[in-house]
Symmetry: C2
Subunit: 382 residues, 2 copies
């Protein structure tokens, strides 16, 4: 089995699991309980909060733990504009946001918000002038992802945050795909809110966070108990939070080494495939997450490639796992100008810290043969 | 350490952890990915869905996994009334619901719903006539918990569901505290929606579910990807779901033995304490979860008892962990007629499957001394 779908999710780091184990065994207290068992859990949650905050140079008090990236995105989009209480109705987002942002924006739109979607260029990167034209004195919130999950394209978040702030709007960034891969500093980026999830950088599934700049008002989404300083109700997922913290700590410590490793393998893979007839690289090589290689082999269906790779024990994807099974073409690939048929040719190969050069060579070899075979089968080689 | 706070959370069963381990190690796929790693995760999620469904005699398709009881409660309260699209604005709930229900009801009220809270009797049990008077042709939803988390009092959910349905209202029950402790059959109870969470019956924290009767429309709460058949977005917490399934399977299998064990220890504890001067048992012994002993020692502050028990290595609580640290008196204890000062005397001791008779005897001995000592200190013995 060769796993090249690290954009969908990553293996849990053995060291992260080790850190979680005490909280899956003896330290089972409810972090809100006042007794010793509860206090031990509370201390673990607080320690992890510090580690997650440190990954993005935030203050621990600015971290709200959620059940994952989707909840954090929903919280930002649904919670930030109404809490302003200044009557602004505008939300500006990129057209290639994850559905966790886009669908939350559409729901806000159904409730009366004015939604403006900004299109990126053909590499998936937003132009600052395009953003500037969309943001005005009615804009409550601008939401642009730090890096796109399907393409790996890194967005100019710092510059967009400046544009947002010039107009008095808040700035949110979905950093689910970027976190742990790129250095992120919320002060330097100038964002008011930022979404994280653990399972994209070798942490557990089912735990994420919203960074919320101190002093920023937000309406709550999940209502009930007083957890997370009253900002997110629900019994704390202590083991998950501890794993999130450890994964954040390790990502911060090892980021440069990991990036170097996956970028080198990604480049090796592209070198081995770039001479396949009709091979085309999507995304923006100048501004790309290190492990991303998004390809298109002209005339070859992406799903056929994924299924055939799977038969060879190679895990890859067409794009977002969250949209798998959907019959619609990727909204990301159509937004960068591909027609629906072309968008179905997308193949996303995302390298991780556990991959080796041997695996990469094997994948290149197998994929080349599969592409040839597909073209023979469909007669589309010429 | 003697743990008598099983109502707040329970230890993770070693067998549950064992079942989770493959999904914390090698089976790390995203359950929405089409490749083999994804499909293995998908099969595990489906198997667990069947086990959770079986615990409440539901169909697997009727289970929506959530991040816990709070999210499931929020989803039911926020999602069911508007999806009716028949203009009904009424929500009827008991005054002793968990805040995850009550605060969601209040938010619905702020959005125009007509909220009616029904008071229980002094044992925390709802009278059917009281409910009948509150439910009318405008009622969209009735929400009454299966058993109260602070008192352990079991509510007549089946009879209340009949009243709701006679008026054309939907019936939701928060069974977070009851599940795994009492046999629950959604058909027999006649409920349209039911909330579960794993960590109250020896499963992991951070995972819960809403049972939703087939054919019942609901507005989504968490928006994004197409997971849970489009009813709840977000990457599946595979290991958590697997643990939830195994905890449900074990609870179903061992329910009678567990109930017998904890009820016997609970009775033993009460026998050992009932002659303490001013000792009073709260809740409804005729309709009580098996492990619950809720006490009051007249004139003795509950928090002082909890803190002193903690110094002796005994974990107990005043009431809901979710409200710990709150300066307000318990809304449950005030709803059953205690004044705020009396409500602060509440002490909740909740027995679990791991407790022994020796532990119970030790707790009785220590608690008796602490009560005496507290009365000496405050001079309130006379």
């Amino acid at each position: 089995m060769i796993y090249l779908d690290h954009a969908a999710t990553t293996p849990l780091d053995g060291r992260v699991l080790e850190a979680m184990m005490p909280y899956l065994r003896d330290q089972y207290g409810n972090a809100s309980s006042v007794h010793a068992m509860g206090q031990a859990a509370r201390r673990a949650v607080d320690r992890a909060r510090g580690e997650v905050a440190a990954l993005i140079s935030a203050d621990p008090s600015e971290i709200i733990f959620t059940s994952g990236g989707t909840e954090a995105d929903n919280l930002a989009i649904a919670g930030l504009p109404p809490a302003r209480k200044d009557g602004r109705r505008g939300i500006v987002a990129s057209a290639i946001e994850h559905h966790a942002v886009l669908h939350a924006c559409e729901a806000a739109g159904a409730d009366g918000a004015h939604l403006t979607l900004v299109r990126p260029d053909e590499r998936g990167r937003l132009g600052l002038e395009t953003v500037r034209r969309a943001v005005d004195a009615d804009t409550a919130l601008v939401s642009v992802m730090a890096a796109n999950n399907e393409l790996g394209t890194i967005e100019p978040v710092r510059e967009i945050a400046e544009i947002a702030h010039e107009q008095g709007a808040l700035m949110h960034t979905d950093a689910v795909q970027a976190a742990g891969q790129l250095p992120l500093d919320v002060r330097e980026m100038g964002v008011d809110a930022l979404t994280l999830t653990a399972h994209k950088f070798y942490g557990p599934k089912g735990i994420g966070a919203l960074y919320l700049r101190r002093g920023t008002a937000i309406d709550r989404l999940q209502l009930g108990g007083g957890q997370e300083r009253g900002r997110r109700a629900g019994t704390e997922n202590v083991a998950g939070i501890v794993g999130f913290g450890e994964a954040a700590r390790l990502a911060a410590e090892e980021m440069a080494a990991r990036s170097g490793h996956v970028a080198a393998l990604r480049d090796r893979l592209w070198q081995a495939l770039c001479d396949v007839p009709g091979a085309e690289r999507l995304g923006d090589p100048e501004h790309s997450l290190p492990g991303y290689l998004v390809l298109r082999f002209l005339g070859v269906d992406g799903e056929a490639l994924v299924l055939n790779l799977d038969l060879h024990g190679i895990c890859a994807s067409m794009g977002s796992a969250c949209s798998s099974g959907s019959l619609e073409a990727s909204h990301v690939l159509t937004a960068i100008g591909l027609d629906p048929a072309a968008a179905r040719e997308g193949l996303r190969l995302t390298v991780g810290r556990g991959n080796s050069a041997e695996e990469i060579d094997e994948v290149a070899h197998v994929l080349r043969r599969i592409v040839e075979r597909q073209r023979e089968l469909t007669g589309s080689r010429d």
